[in-house]
């Protein structure tokens, strides 16, 4: 059975209490992109500095639940300085991590957890998938980042 400790791992509480990469970047040169989770009122604003095919810097502001804010903080640490190809790949990996697999109609069926060894600190968020309602909390920052990259490539 899904346990509270699966969700509120110490690393998540740490990133919630002490979020990394908080703040703003001057726009321009940075891009500003906002994301909202209308169901629970989570909000995030990302500042993305793109240079030479890399996400040279990222800062963020926002408020919301521990999962949305910790996921944003962990994301910043994971993607800062990476090439845009690597960032896209990280977003896709995280999206897969947050995908609920089809379960049978049996009582007590639980989804199998994916292999998270390659994910580093992000693996702390793997337990979120056992709490399907919270997936959109964890996805907010990532979906907002993807939107920011899409907007940048459309310019």
């Amino acid at each position: 059975m899904a346990n509270l400790d699966d969700l509120y791992r110490e690393i998540i509480l740490d990133h919630y209490r002490t979020p990394r990469n908080r703040g703003e970047l001057p726009t321009p040169p940075a891009r500003r992109v906002e994301g909202f989770n209308p169901l629970c009122g989570d909000e995030i604003t990302l500042y993305l500095e793109l240079a030479d095919g890399r996400l040279a810097d990222i800062k963020m502001t926002g408020r919301g639940c521990s999962i949305s804010q910790a996921s944003a903080s962990l994301m910043g640490a994971a993607v800062k300085g990476k090439t845009l190809v690597e960032v896209r790949a990280a977003i896709e990996r995280f999206r897969q991590l947050m995908t609920v697999t089809e379960t049978r109609l049996d009582e007590g069926a639980e989804p199998a957890l994916p292999d998270v060894r390659s994910l580093g600190e992000l693996a702390a968020l793997a337990g979120v998938v056992k709490f399907p309602v919270r997936i959109k909390c964890a996805m907010l920052a990532w979906a907002t980042l993807a939107q920011g990259l899409d907007e940048a490539s459309a310019d």
């Binding site: 509270l4 509120y8 919630y16 169901l39 629970c40 909000e43 999962i67 919270r134």
Partner: protein, 411 residues
């Protein structure tokens, strides 16, 4: 004379016989949806096992039985809300939201002219806001809001100005966020004095006290089955026959016509005009059983029990947390129902609800489909606990234990 016992109601509800996360279920989310008693579930099972057929069509025995079941439910609803014109005024919909869409799309679109005014309140559920905004876009009506005061009650100090020239006042019987109950009879008089009609969102109020459209002078009433111990998938729209007869159909299709030709159609008379397609028959049967069950409990007894639970919870929350858990709603139980919206210091409502879940406590985090109200009080969300006829003081014990855990974990 009824012999209402909350413990007996609890025994009647099968879901209370299961455990969640190794604990007894402390279901405090009745404002979202109530848990049906066995009588409701069995009535629907019996319907499907013995009587199911489509209604208003076949002349064979089970088709007659199904039709009698469906129309019998309509009669029960009419009696339950004291509809002066009886069953012929009761339209079955999918839920309260669809009832408001019917009101706006049918009555509103046919009766309101550009510039006409509909007055709602800041404490309305989106179901009683968005359809009027849609009508504002399509018909050019004006939508005004009665504000909510710092005491979490309607601020009626400028109501005469707001109702000036209004065609409709559309207001909730009880706020799904604050628990505030509105004085419907007084609001109906106000509306009528200004030449307006009054529509009531009864979603939160029908299961927690008596509803009487004739006594209160209401013109339109909307509510849902699943918030009054009945099933999901069925709601009610009621209005007086004289108003109903002037309303054009909202959804077109089978069942709502008197005639269809290659050059057009003639809608059916009466409530059938508003029930296109095969209706929710089993759900109507379940709603009928829920009404019988609620009437057996006695609406006044249920209301008194929930008031006492609320008084006790308000007192104990203050005692246990001394202001670290703030209740967004009236602090006393006068004109107040059993809804407690909580703002927990330093802990997001989603996290509050998640920790409570580990204690078997079901509450609802979020904006509760009342964003204008959340904006009014500068909140993104709250964690809402709400009582039902089966709630007991021990549910409040579990709530307080879980809140202490949440404060401890995130502090």
């Amino acid at each position: 004379m009824t012999s209402y016992s909350p413990s007996r109601v609890r025994a009647d509800v099968p879901q209370f016989h299961r455990e969640v996360r190794g604990r007894p279920l402390a279901y405090l989310d009745s404002a979202s949806s109530t848990l049906p008693p066995r009588a409701v579930i069995e009535a629907m099972d019996r319907y499907y096992e013995r009587h199911h057929a489509n209604v208003h069509r076949g002349v064979y025995l089970t088709a007659e039985e199904a039709t009698a079941d469906y129309e019998g439910a309509r009669a029960a609803v009419a009696r339950f809300i004291n509809a002066p014109g009886g069953a012929g005024e009761v339209v079955f919909t999918k839920n309260t939201t669809e009832s408001f869409n019917l009101l706006a799309r049918s009555w509103g679109a046919s009766q309101l002219e550009p510039g006409d005014v509909v007055v709602v309140t800041e404490m309305e559920h989106h179901a009683n806001v968005v359809p009027w905004f849609q009508l504002r876009e399509s018909r050019g009506i004006e939508v005004r809001f009665i504000p909510v005061g710092d005491d979490y009650r309607l601020d009626l100090s400028h109501v005469d100005q707001l109702l000036e020239g209004a065609r409709l006042l559309s207001v909730t019987g009880m706020s799904n966020v604050l628990g505030t109950r509105n004085d419907l009879a007084a609001l109906a008089r106000l509306a009528h004095d200004h030449g307006a009609l009054i529509a009531v969102d009864g979603a939160q109020s029908v299961a927690h006290g008596s509803s009487d459209v004739a006594r209160d002078g209401i013109d339109f009433l909307a509510f849902s089955g699943h918030k009054m111990l009945g099933p999901t998938g069925i709601g009610v729209f009621w209005t007086r026959r004289s108003l109903l007869d002037a309303m054009p159909p909202f959804l077109g299709g089978g069942g709502m016509i008197a005639d269809v030709r290659t050059d057009g159609f003639t809608p059916a008379d009466g409530v059938a005009r508003f029930e296109a397609g095969t209706p929710p028959i089993a759900e109507a049967v379940g709603l009928h059983a829920a009404i019988r069950y609620l009437e057996g409990l006695g609406p006044d007894a249920v209301e008194a029990h929930e008031r006492e639970l609320t008084r006790d919870a308000l007192e104990r929350l203050e005692g246990a947390f001394a202001g670290r858990v703030r209740v967004i709603g009236p602090g006393d139980v006068t004109d107040r129902g059993g809804v407690l919206s909580l703002d927990v210091e330093g802990v997001h409502p989603h996290d509050v609800a998640q920790v409570l879940d580990q204690h078997g406590v079901c509450v609802r985090p979020g904006h509760h489909c009342a964003k204008p109200l959340m904006h009014r009080f500068g909140l993104a969300a709250t964690a809402r606990a709400s009582f039902g006829p089966y709630s007991l003081a021990r549910d409040t014990d579990a709530l307080i234990e879980g809140l202490a855990h949440a404060l401890d974990l995130f502090a």
